[in-house]
Assembly symmetry: C2
Homo-oligomer: 122 residues x 2
């Protein structure tokens, strides 16, 4: 793949991730029986968002903070034996309601994109 | 759905569309046997991108121009009997190569998101 195709692919993947990272993050926290801290959440996500644009841990923290600001997550800080205190995040009831809306929107957009790519949509 | 959920949903859908509109647009043009003008392309897309955030025709034109600037599309202007001249877009060979890369990236991200939502991923 030449450099220009590579650059277009990175741009595309970045835009795709911008929409999906928050969805995946909320789903991971909904499923977790325990509050999770940033690094734990990032670990589970970093392999999956693909195409040479891994989700860098540093990009998750602003998303977590913004979601907390919007009331989708709550957090508490706990001391850690091995380093600085950790901020543990849980999904709120409001976050669960928003996740449910987002799941529906995701399924709708996904099906439309797939139909178009297969030549049935549009 | 309360106003805050509605607002979160619109934000999410907008971010999702930012990544997918260019993919869908390129796929629509690849499939078309004839060059298409902006309004024709928009018509086929506007119903699908869902959740109260339709793809406004005005948002497509900058995407078309940027894709032409990146060599993914070529265009020619033709007079129209019913109004101002129309700009017809075709996909270039480079655009086909980029679309092929984007299809792969899309499938990878889609499967990862779906797996996470179903509780198998992450």
């Amino acid at each position: 793949m030449d450099a220009q195709r590579q650059s277009m692919l990175r741009k595309f993947q970045k835009e795709l991730n911008a929409g999906t990272v928050s969805l995946v993050l909320l789903a991971v926290l909904e499923r977790s029986p325990e509050p999770m801290y940033g690094y734990e959440i990032a670990k589970g996500m970093s392999w999956g968002m693909g195409a040479g644009v891994p989700v860098k841990h540093g990009t998750l923290y602003p998303v977590l903070r913004s979601m907390e600001g919007n009331g989708l997550l709550s957090s508490r800080v706990e001391p850690s034996v091995s380093g600085p205190p950790r901020k543990y995040y849980s999904i709120t009831d409001h976050g669960r309601a928003v996740l449910s809306d987002w799941r529906t929107a995701w399924a709708c957009t996904r099906d439309f994109v797939d139909a178009t790519l297969e030549g049935d949509g549009g």
